[in-house]
Symmetry: C2
Subunit: 163 residues, 2 copies
């Protein structure tokens, strides 16, 4: 196993009110009230069975508007250089985005969401349930994020979105 | 934007004690004590700056041994059919894996980990910090997972791994 090429295809499109990168909230926790929806391509419809019984889901998607990858970046929340893997910035070697969003309901192949921090038109790669058993972990160290107070983080993290 | 093809490349390899799919724990919470490491390809080294100050990280990886995608699956924890997007099963349309692992330390391009539920030799796609601000969410519904008691889940979830 070495530096293989890995080919994926979009399973759907994420729709949101965010039309400009610079005004898109940086995380779902700073996008509360921002509704959006996933339009899953109809051939994947059977994969949604029972998903509506989860309150939160992971969306894994392709940052289709990401700039060229950089290994050292200043995150939106702090004007200090960090390694890109210590941030959630989009300009990653593989521009993969990860958001935990609230699932409001499902109608046919449409998933209605709250807390959408994703640019309109983003290609979706995968959906997974976010669950108490698997995903709530005992974090003890938050690195540079602990240096940013909650008020500043919320203000910077919304990036123009008014909730 | 429609059904585009998306090309990624491995940024490193995940090494673990798990050599057989059927004996690999299904989630990090059932793999406590199972050490492993990421060998990041050296050209990405600068991306690790300050990552060692986080206790937990997301690994996003390619299920390179996944069987053909199925839209309806029985998850390991329950003998009932569910849509694949309502489970964490590997046989997904895009076989992308997601694990929250404990970061024990970093030496050069090697990340030492605990709670590794990943098959040895798995290609790594991305690393992100898992943080209190972004990733601890107020889950209210866990779908079918609420029907599986904790003892049964631990027993089935370890799949032969003795912690």
């Amino acid at each position: 196993m070495n530096k293989c090429e890995i080919l994926y295809g979009a399973i759907g499109i994420i729709h949101s009110e965010h039309k400009e990168e610079g005004k898109t909230p940086i995380q779902p926790v700073y996008a509360k009230g921002s509704k959006g929806y996933v339009e899953l391509f109809p051939e994947f419809l059977d994969g949604l069975r029972d998903l509506n019984e989860f309150s939160h889901i992971y969306l894994i998607y392709h940052f289709h508007k990401a700039q060229q990858a950089k290994l050292v970046v200043k995150p939106y929340l702090q004007d200090v250089d960090h390694g890109v893997f210590a941030t959630r910035a989009p300009c990653r070697p593989n521009p993969i985005g990860l958001s935990v969003v609230e699932l409001l309901g499902i109608e046919d192949n449409v998933l209605h969401l709250d807390g959408v921090d994703i640019l309109d038109g983003t290609p979706l790669l995968d959906i997974k349930p976010y669950t108490t058993k698997f995903d709530l972990r005992n974090v003890t160290k938050n690195g540079w994020q602990d240096e940013v107070d909650g008020h500043t983080a919320r203000k910077k993290g919304k990036r123009g979105y008014k909730s």
